[in-house]
C-alpha cells in the first residue's frame, strides 16, 4: 500500500519496471481515489446497497421478522391492479406536482420582481417570505392543524365572526378537499424559496438588454413577457426539477396533518411506503412501492436533466 505523504515531495515515483512499481505508479496517478474513498464507502453502504436491496425485497412477502416467502412479481401485480390507496397516492402526486410547482413559481417570480425593484425594507421582506422554508414541516403541520380546525380554528372562527361562511370548511376531514388543503400549506412553505431563486436570477440578468428594451419603448408587460421571463429559463427549470423531487419525497407535512387520511385521500407514495413497512409490517410490499417511487423519481429527473437541460441549484 502506498503512503500518500502529507509532506511536500512525498510519494514521488522512482524508476524500475516490475509489477510492484507499476501498481505503485497506478496508485500515485490515481491519488484522487484516496480523497474519494470516504464518500464512496458511504455511498455504497447507504445508497447503492439499499437500491439493490429494495429491488430484491420487493419480490418477497415479508413482515420484516419471520422468514420471507418468494412471490415473484405478485406485489407489483397487486399494486397496479388492486390497490386503491396506491392509485390515490399516484393521483395525489400529480396534483401535488402541478399545484405546488406552478403557483409557487408565479408567486415567487412576482415577489422577486417587487423585491428587486428597490422598495424599502426589501431584505426584511425576503427573510419573511423565506422563513417558512427553514421551519420543520413537523412544526408547521401542527400549527396548520389549528388554523384549519373546524371548532376554534383560525379560519373557522374568522368565518363565524365576519359572516364569511365559506371559510368554515372541514379542511382536513373532507376526503374531497383534504389534499388541496395540504398542498396549500406546502405552497405557502416553499414560495419563499422560489422567490429567492428568482431574486438571484434577476440580479444576474445583463443590464444592457433590459435598458435597451426600455429605451426601445417596450412596456413593462412586454419586457416581462418577452425578455425577462424567457431569460430566466434556467431558474424555471431548476425550480421544476427541485419541485418534482420535493413532491416525491413529501412525508413529514402529510404525516403530521392527516397521516395520509381521511381514508387514504391524502396518501402520498412516501406515506404509503411508511404505512406498509412499519405500522402494517409488510416490508416486501413497501419495497415494491419504493421501487416504483425510485423509478419515477430517476426517470423524471433524468428526463429533465437530459432533455430539458435542468440543473441543480449550484454549479454544473
Amino acid at each position: 500500500m502506498i503512503k500518500v505523504s502529507p509532506h511536500c515531495n512525498g510519494g514521488r515515483f522512482r524508476g524500475g519496471l516490475n509489477f510492484a512499481t507499476m501498481s505503485r505508479k497506478w496508485l500515485i496517478d490515481n491519488q484522487g481515489l484516496f480523497f474519494m474513498a470516504p464518500a464512496m464507502i458511504l455511498f455504497v453502504v447507504f445508497v447503492l446497497y439499499p437500491i439493490f436491496y429494495i429491488f430484491g425485497a420487493s419480490l418477497y412477502d415479508w413482515d420484516g421478522i419471520n422468514e420471507a416467502a418468494y412471490v415473484g412479481v405478485q406485489n407489483y401485480v397487486e399494486m397496479f391492479t388492486d390497490d386503491r390507496s396506491f392509485a390515490l397516492a399516484i393521483r395525489n402526486s400529480l396534483y401535488w406536482t402541478f399545484l405546488t410547482i406552478f403557483p409557487q413559481m408565479f408567486l415567487g417570480f412576482a415577489l422577486a420582481s417587487i423585491l428587486t425593484s428597490g422598495i424599502p425594507f426589501q431584505n426584511i421582506f425576503r427573510i419573511i417570505f423565506f422563513m417558512p422554508a427553514i421551519i420543520s414541516p413537523v412544526v408547521l403541520g401542527i400549527i396548520w392543524q389549528r388554523i384549519y380546525a373546524p371548532f376554534g380554528g383560525l379560519l373557522a372562527d374568522i368565518g363565524f365572526e365576519t359572516g364569511a361562511r365559506f371559510l368554515v370548511q372541514p379542511y382536513l376531514s373532507d376526503p374531497k378537499i383534504a389534499i388541496f388543503s395540504t398542498i396549500f400549506v406546502n405552497v405557502w412553505q416553499w414560495t419563499g424559496f422560489s422567490m429567492l431563486m428568482y431574486v438571484a436570477g434577476l440580479q444576474g440578468l445583463p443590464e444592457e438588454v433590459l435598458s435597451a428594451a426600455e429605451v426601445d419603448g417596450a412596456s413593462i408587460r412586454q419586457r416581462v413577457q418577452h425578455i425577462i421571463w424567457p431569460m430566466l429559463r434556467h431558474v424555471h427549470l431548476t425550480l421544476i426539477l427541485l419541485g418534482v423531487i420535493g413532491t416525491l419525497q413529501t412525508f413529514a407535512l402529510v404525516y403530521m396533518l392527516t397521516k395520509g387520511g381521511p381514508n387514504h385521500a391524502t396518501e402520498m407514495l412516501p406515506t404509503y411506503i411508511f404505512l406498509k413497512a412499519f405500522p402494517l409490517q409488510s416490508m416486501g410490499y413497501a419495497s415494491a412501492v419504493a421501487v416504483v417511487l425510485l423509478v419515477i423519481a430517476l426517470s423524471a429527473s433524468v428526463f429533465q436533466v437530459r432533455v430539458l437541460g435542468s440543473r441543480f441549484t449550484i454549479g454544473n
Partner: protein
C-alpha cells in the same frame, strides 16, 4: 436597473412602487400569521380555556408554558440528542465532501466522471425509498436507537449536495496557483489543506447551514430509527408529547417554538452566505 429607476423618479413609477410596497406589506403580514400564531399560543396563560381564533386571541401573556415544558418534558435531553446527531453529521459532511470535491475538481483518476454521476444521482433519490433498507442495515449493525444510526445516513445523504457546491467552487481556482504549489513540492493533500480549504469559507458556510437544517429537521429516518424516547431528537418531540399535551396547546406550542428557535438563529447568522451562495449558483446555473 435599480439605480436607473431611482435616478429618474417619474411619478407613475413612484405610485407603482408605493402600491407594490403596500401589497407586499399586507402579504408579508398574512404570510407570518402561522409563525406569529406559534409564538402567541406558546405565551397563552395556562388557565385560558377554549382559545378562539386558533389561539390568536389570548387573555394575557405568560411564560408558564415554557416552565411546564422544562418541568414535564425532557426537552433538554431531546435538544442534546438533536445536537449529538446534527453536529457530527455537519462535521463529517464538510470533511468528506470537501476531500471528494477537491479530487473531482482538481485531480484525474480512474472512473472519475462515473463516480461523479453516481453521487449526483443521490440528489434525485427520494429518501423514503431508502427507509426500509436503512432500517434493516441499522438493525444488522445494532445502530437502531443509537446516534450513529442517524449520523451515518444523514452524512451519506448530505455529501452529494455538498460535493456539487464545493466542486464548482474549487473548479473556479486558477490553475497557476496550483502549478506554483506543485513546483514548490506540494502534494495534492497539501494543496487541498493549505491552499483550497482556507479560502473556501463562503462555500463551506453554505454546506454547513444546509446540512445543519436538513439534519435538524429530518423526520422519516428519525421516526423509524429512534424508538426509545430517551434518544429521540427534537423533531420527534411533538409526537412524543402529543398525548400528554393533547388538551393543552400552550405547552405544545412552546415546544414547537423551542424546536424552531435554533434553526432560525443559525439561518439568521448565516443567511448572508446562503443568499450569496444560491445567487452565485443560480446565476452560473
Amino acid at each position: 436597473m435599480k439605480a436607473k429607476k431611482s435616478r429618474h423618479p417619474r411619478s407613475p413609477r413612484r405610485l407603482g412602487k408605493t402600491l407594490a410596497f403596500v401589497f407586499v406589506t399586507i402579504l408579508a403580514l398574512v404570510w407570518l400569521v402561522p409563525i406569529i400564531m406559534m409564538l402567541v399560543v406558546s405565551l397563552m396563560p395556562p388557565d385560558q380555556r377554549a382559545p378562539r381564533f386558533g389561539g390568536m386571541l389570548i387573555s394575557g401573556v405568560s411564560l408558564k408554558n415554557y416552565v411546564t415544558v422544562f418541568e414535564d418534558a425532557e426537552i433538554v435531553q431531546h435538544f442534546i440528542n438533536s445536537m449529538a446527531v446534527t453536529v457530527p453529521s455537519v462535521f463529517l459532511v464538510v470533511a468528506i465532501s470537501s476531500l471528494a470535491a477537491f479530487a473531482l475538481a482538481r485531480l484525474k483518476f480512474f472512473a472519475r466522471d462515473i463516480w461523479f454521476y453516481l453521487l449526483i444521482m443521490t440528489l434525485m433519490l427520494p429518501i423514503p425509498t431508502l427507509v426500509v433498507p436503512i432500517f434493516q442495515i441499522n438493525k444488522a449493525l445494532g445502530l437502531n436507537d443509537k446516534y450513529l444510526g442517524l449520523i451515518l445516513p444523514y452524512t451519506a445523504l448530505g455529501v452529494p449536495f455538498a460535493i456539487v457546491i464545493l466542486r464548482s467552487f474549487f473548479a473556479g481556482f486558477l490553475k497557476e496557483i496550483e502549478e506554483a504549489a506543485i513546483l514548490d513540492g506540494c502534494t495534492p493533500f497539501g494543496i487541498y489543506w493549505r491552499i483550497m480549504m482556507p479560502v473556501s469559507w463562503p462555500a463551506i458556510a453554505v454546506v454547513i447551514i444546509w446540512q445543519f437544517m436538513t439534519s435538524w429537521n429530518e423526520f422519516i429516518l428519525a421516526l423509524v430509527t429512534m424508538n426509545t424516547n430517551q434518544v429521540k431528537p427534537l423533531t420527534l418531540v411533538p409526537l412524543v408529547y402529543s398525548g400528554q399535551f393533547m388538551m393543552r396547546p400552550g405547552p405544545m406550542f412552546a415546544i414547537l417554538t423551542l424546536i424552531t428557535l435554533p434553526v432560525i438563529v443559525v439561518y439568521y447568522l448565516m443567511q448572508r452566505f446562503m443568499v450569496s451562495g444560491l445567487t452565485s449558483g443560480a446565476v452560473r446555473g
